[in-house]
Symmetry: C2
Subunit: 362 residues, 2 copies
Amino acid sequence: MAVVSPAGTAGSVAWLDALRRRCGHDVREFVEERVREHFGGRAADTPAPEVLPEFVSGGKFLRPVFAYVGWRCGGPESAVALRAAASLELLHCFALAQDDVMDGSARRRGRPSMHVVFSRWHREKGLSGSADRFGESAAVLAADLYLVWSEQLLRGCGLDAAVLARGWPVYDRLRSELAVGQLGDLLNDARALPSWTDVLDVIRRKSGNYTVRRPLEFGAALAGCEDHVVAALGDYGGLLGEAFQFRDDLLGVFGDPAVTGKPAGDDLRERKATSVVALTAELADHRQRGELAELLALDVVDEEAVVRWHDLITATGARDQLEKFIDDRVRRALEAIDLAGLPHRPADALGVLARQCTERVR
Amino acid sequence: MAVVSPAGTAGSVAWLDALRRRCGHDVREFVEERVREHFGGRAADTPAPEVLPEFVSGGKFLRPVFAYVGWRCGGPESAVALRAAASLELLHCFALAQDDVMDGSARRRGRPSMHVVFSRWHREKGLSGSADRFGESAAVLAADLYLVWSEQLLRGCGLDAAVLARGWPVYDRLRSELAVGQLGDLLNDARALPSWTDVLDVIRRKSGNYTVRRPLEFGAALAGCEDHVVAALGDYGGLLGEAFQFRDDLLGVFGDPAVTGKPAGDDLRERKATSVVALTAELADHRQRGELAELLALDVVDEEAVVRWHDLITATGARDQLEKFIDDRVRRALEAIDLAGLPHRPADALGVLARQCTERVR
């Protein structure tokens, strides 16, 4: 079942790293151009002209990388196809800046979130009105710009209109799914305890599709890949997307702050309806359900509460079960790729990415 | 200086009304299709599937109408060009839903704002967490969908790719200007008293360009109009856009709630940095500046305070001055059109629209 030879692995890791660097360069340059074009007058006095290009750096460029690997299943190495793929990173910046406002997340990638940067600036300048409110509104507007600029980067990437035309339906679907999925997420967060089924539904619609499946399908569509290739990438993407989200949810509860860039147990403090909490509820016995009810009723989730949460999640078996779910989905994802007979370069890269997206420390 | 004959006026009013009805039909149908496509799972349980199509109704379709009139300066009557123009109404719905969250506006077009609809639903369902917060987040996501769908409607309107290619640069510019302008607006609202110059800068960048100038330029670009036509439309649009915003600001302070669909003096209550307040400060004498400072320092703007505001604005001459500014800009806008030698249909329509956009009661 090993689809990647050791030599292939090392080569793929280097290739993927080079793609990430190039994407990072492309999106930063594009955002800097747009800032020069649009920021005059009042808005130029805000931190926006510095923050907008800075925020696009420091990510893992997962979505552009998946899109470009999808492209390479049917297309040649191409700087313009990589620019098309890079547009998904701006879409991701849109989602991050906006989600952090909605979730009240103060940190992102080890730095203050976008809305925190703007609210601090408001306070430092001694402006009138609520600094928090100003910060949130400004971050939402910054997110709007990323959403608009993503599509603009894609349309002007240099691919022929006929090639782009194959990608637009997937791109549009991805964007709508993202917003509708986030609405489902909000709704799950607004229930005391959403069911495992409801959480899995949102994971499938939003995170899973958005991070792996649609980017792969988008790249493959641009390259005009045959149906059986798109289907295999879809299977891989659906499975790996779920595994990725389970890992992300485990890291949000158990992750090392030095690695995640967020405080320990952050998802618990923000009362997110994650797969970890939903599965804990699903697996809890009578006594554990009592402990769960107590933890959910707490007004403040402090250090001690995080420790109690950790113990409960582990005791119900939810942690082990999610690790098994991850292993199972990664295995089936790799099988789907193995059977599709893809070219070596993308096949090897998908093996490496399956590991990178689900490793216990990232 | 009368560019419109009485017969031409009646004909144009009927033509413009027919355009509005057709636009309203097109955007509502498009949104209903998108809702059917995307709303399954958790998010389908929210009011979104009903609210999204409803919210696009009831507007004045100013931006699509200006875009289509721009198109008619160089193109024939065309149902697909009207669909392209209609995409600007979805962009406007995006702006309205999002601005109402940022401004804390509870009503829009005589109905509860988007975020109020969602927060009420949250309360009625007895969900956990803050209902206001949920409402605001859901409205921002609904706005995202309108932004995405606007571009999708435009791309798929049925115009040839080569025709669309002429319109994208204006469309992209309009979208970025809108977000950057709103950021400038926030910043002006966050100063105790922004200068007349700062307010005028934001009006030119945001409202003026966004409502009249860019839509006209967008339509004219799609139709491949000659440079001198685009320039004349730009002049008209810049001038009428300012006049439109001055009228809007006057209505926000002095308007009849039965007509505006908003409470009397709403802009004063929301402490918006409008042209009315900035010009009042600019024109106030020493004693009036004292009264202004008192009004600005009030914690709550009640009925009595609104009356004091009205008296002060009128006494400084700001109200009369804005009326003169409006008359002056409308006159110069019509001159620009008169000199350009446009076809009768769009020339007549621009005369009617200049009046409709700036009349004292709307």
